[in-house]
């Protein structure tokens, strides 16, 4: 036996090595799961987690968010500061919120919010701690307090608990709010995966948010709010029966405080009334009845009950637990941040996957950069409008011969990474864009100078991983997204056809116009007209041409 090979271990020896793993340790070793795999991505993820938390806090407190993001840094190290005008955090909670993984307010309730797991911001702090060894620096003030609290917090990874370095009360010019500063290994790159692109997309989906961004070069970009109205607060809900899994049902039956099956169905589920509950029980058959004791069912007839629930038609999930962006606000956001020639948005009715209600919104911004646009004036004449200059650096809209850009959002948060594995991308690819006049190769994104925006709002968005970069392609989700895409695409096709007709008509007229002077010359030669008479005739002819063709403009 060679010396290089380890000796076989005994069960006893093995037992000595077996011990608990803290969740912090686990994510420290698997930081890619939280989106901190490269320095460039880590920076964007850190900004995203901080901004998500800030927006959630402001909205929950009913305050119009005012966010300042600052990224400073060089030599691969960055300092990120995110400041909000939120309600602030009670001092005693600060260290746990920022210094403990899986600690938060949003995990245990079924309600639509940006954050979900209570892991993001502490993971960002942990990443900073790992790469540059600096703790998080937090300043927060609750309205009415005389001084703000300043804390330096890191994570004790072995025990997943906060490690408080310094704590004091300081002067702060903000009446209320929170400021998080973190230092980490991070690079602010440019392009579609930059901090700026992320903030711009946030501004598109959140017309009520104002964001100021200062980058390392001192450049300041302000995304101003276009709406003074906060979106309505989403309601907390019970699960919807459609698509609920057997295991979850058994767990619910076990833990319920209800003493009868009928009561259980009505109280623990949304959209189930007495009538529906009785229908479910009838379908489940004997020995189940409305009086059955839930805990007993959990062990014996849960399967039958589960099948009955699946078969019984139940009202669609309540939509008031979902807050969509809304067609008007979405349109406003697109107009504000994406210069384009044609916009259309649609908000689908709410649907459910696995009992979780969700709602899909789709928007399309179609631009013709560099391509002339045709204007028709009152006399029926057509002119080439000068095309608008599109800022090439900021283009979220694809160029003429490139695949479309997809702007993905989940609960108003832009998704920047893992585009190809996302339900939204798959839905775009599965949609037959050729039917709407665009080019598309099989199994690829369509080619067009446009951006497709898809927003999925849900009480529980099924992300493919904890880093929340892509949405799991559940069939129900894909179906709804496709329906939304088709609805927008129909309007786009209508617009494109109209544009095409205008272009054709313009070409026709330009062609005919070429020959008008010759008609003038011929008439002059035959009828011995003066030059003025000839020119007058040509002008009149030109008028007649445009006048006579005007009605044909809209005809296909």
């Amino acid at each position: 036996m060679s010396e290089r090979e380890a000796k076989a271990a005994t069960a006893l020896e093995m037992a000595g090595k077996q011990r608990e793993i803290s969740v912090s340790e686990f994510f420290l070793k698997n930081r890619h799961l939280l989106g901190f795999d490269t320095p460039a991505k880590a920076l964007v993820t850190a900004v995203k987690e901080a901004v998500d938390n800030a927006l959630d806090a402001c909205e929950e407190a009913g305050l119009l968010p005012e966010i300042v993001v600052e990224v400073r840094g060089r030599f691969g190290r960055s300092r990120v500061t995110v400041e909000d005008n939120g309600p602030g955090i009670v001092e005693s909670q600060i260290s746990r919120i920022f210094g403990k993984l899986l600690y938060g307010s949003k995990f245990h309730k079924l309600s639509q919010s940006r954050g979900q797991q209570g892991m993001g911001i502490s993971a960002a702090g942990m990443y900073g701690q790992l790469t540059v060894g600096k703790p998080l620096h937090i300043i927060s003030r609750v309205e009415g307090e005389e001084l703000a609290s300043e804390l330096y917090v890191s994570i004790d990874t072995a025990h997943n608990r906060p490690d408080l370095h310094k704590k004091k009360r300081v002067e702060w010019d903000c009446p209320h709010g929170t400021r998080v500063e973190m230092e980490m290994e991070g690079v602010n790159q440019t392009g579609p995966h930059s901090v700026e692109a992320y903030l711009k997309q946030t501004a598109i989906a959140n017309a009520h948010v104002s964001i100021t961004f200062r980058d390392a070069q001192g450049k300041e970009v302000v995304f101003r709010r276009s709406s003074e109205r906060l979106p309505p607060r989403p309601k907390e809900i019970k699960p919807h029966p459609s698509g609920i899994e057997l295991g979850r049902l058994i767990q619910m039956l076990n833990s319920t405080k209800c003493r009868s099956l009928l009561q259980f169905l009505v109280q623990e589920f949304s959209c189930v009334g007495r009538k529906t509950a009785l229908e479910i029980i009838k379908r489940a058959g004997k020995p189940l009845s409305g009086h059955s004791y839930p805990t007993h069912i959990a062990h014996a007839q849960a399967g039958a009950l589960h099948r009955a629930i699946q078969k019984t038609p139940v009202r669609a999930p309540r939509t008031d637990c979902i807050v969509s962006i809304g067609e008007a606000q979405l349109l406003e956001g697109l107009h504000k941040e994406l210069p384009a020639d044609f916009y259309t948005v649609t908000t689908r009715p709410a649907a459910a996957y696995r009992g979780n209600p969700f709602q899909v919104e789709v928007g399309i911004a179609f631009a013709r950069p560099g391509q002339p646009e045709i204007a028709v004036d009152a006399s029926g004449r057509m002119r080439n409008k000068k095309s608008k200059d599109v800022d090439a650096a900021q283009e979220l809209i694809a160029r003429k011969d490139e695949p479309v850009r997809i702007l993905r959002f989940a609960n108003r948060v832009p998704l920047l990474y893992q585009q190809s594995s996302c339900a939204i991308t798959k839905s775009v690819i599965q949609t037959n864009w050729r039917a709407y006049g665009l080019h598309q190769s099989k199994g690829a994104l369509p080619i067009a100078p446009m951006a497709i925006l898809v927003h999925v709002a849900s009480v529980w968005v099924p992300y493919t991983s904890e880093s929340k970069e892509a949405i799991e392609p559940y069939p129900e989700l894909v179906k709804e997204i496709k329906l939304g895409l088709q609805q927008c695409a129909r309007r786009l096709a209508h617009y494109l056809q109209h544009e095409l007709n205008l272009q054709r008509e313009y070409d026709s007229r330009s062609y005919i116009e070429k020959y008008l002077p010759h008609i003038g010359l011929a008439l002059q030669e035959i009828l011995a007209l003066s030059d003025d008479e000839r020119d007058a005739a040509v002008t009149k002819l030109d008028d007649a041409l445009h006048f006579s063709r005007t009605p044909q403009r809209s005809a296909s």
Binding site: Y515, H518, I519, A522, E525, I526, K540, A544
Partner: protein
Amino acid sequence: MKKASLNIPRSDRDEQTIKLIETIANQVRKAIESGKLPSIRMPVRSLDNVTYDQAAGYLELGKAERVRALTVNTARSFAQTLRLMATSRTMVESNDFATKREAYYISKNWGDCRFEEQAESDAIMDDIEAVASLHGLSRENLRFYPESHGGSVAGRLAIIDQNAKTGQLIEVDCANLGSGAYSIPRSAEHLRFRTDARFVLAIETGGMFQRLNNHRFWETANCIIVEMGGVPTRATRRFIRLLSDKHNLPVYCFVDCDPYGFTNIYRTLKAGSGNAAHVNRFLCVPRARFLGVTPQDIIDFRLQDATHPLAATDVKRAKDALQNDPFITAHPEWIAAIKQLLDMGVRAEQQALAKWGLNYVIDEYLPRKLADASRFLP
């Protein structure tokens, strides 16, 4: 093109031509002045719109009209039509003319409007000609002359022409040209004739014409001979027509005995062609009769061993004529003759008569045929 030749007074025809062009131009201008898009109406020239007028004896354009207006498809030809009409008017005024090829090159100065190929200018010219024909005006009146000259003429005929510069009369005696012949000009409108001939003999081939001329056949037969050289050109047809009309002369046609000779050469001379149906009324020679060589002649003059078998194209042409040619189907004699030819399965050339001696045609064939003109095919 500008040429001082105004010392010759304009003919009535020229006045009519100018008036027609000005009328069309004025209509266009009036439409423009009233804020409407102008258009020009012209007859449809396609074969669908060609019918055979049995009473008049020629192929004629029907009533179908089309409108040339300022649409994408016709804007270009609309402008070209007007410009070509302007050119025509200027030529009438300065007493000049342009061949079809020259008209094509004139357009090269028209910028966007220019003709890319001569086929284009020919088509536009035919359109204008079709409009003019409705008013009794021919292409020659519009001053567009064909490229190819007419055939040759010899015989008992004096042609009175004039010097284009001075207007002085020139008389050409076709009986006094030796072994040569008079060449039919591109436009015969202005010619006048003096003759005591009894008929006109139109001959297909130059060789046969040469033989008849050299042996002065026209002197003994008291006639005028015309060489057609295959399908007669417009100039030739117009010349024969004018000659026949003005002096009330019958026209006899002497061509090969094959479907091409019947349906292309003879039919075109007598009833006109489908392609130029709009001008047939000026060009056809309804008085023409078919002297020979007829299928019956092959038997009567025992030419069977001087024939060639009918080629596939000949058979096709003959069958097509029996079915579709309105002139042939209107004449039972022709149906019988073509059927007879198809049954015999052979064709015979004019020169086949040389089997019986080089001058058999002068000494025997033509005198025997001419003795009974009533037996000629219609």
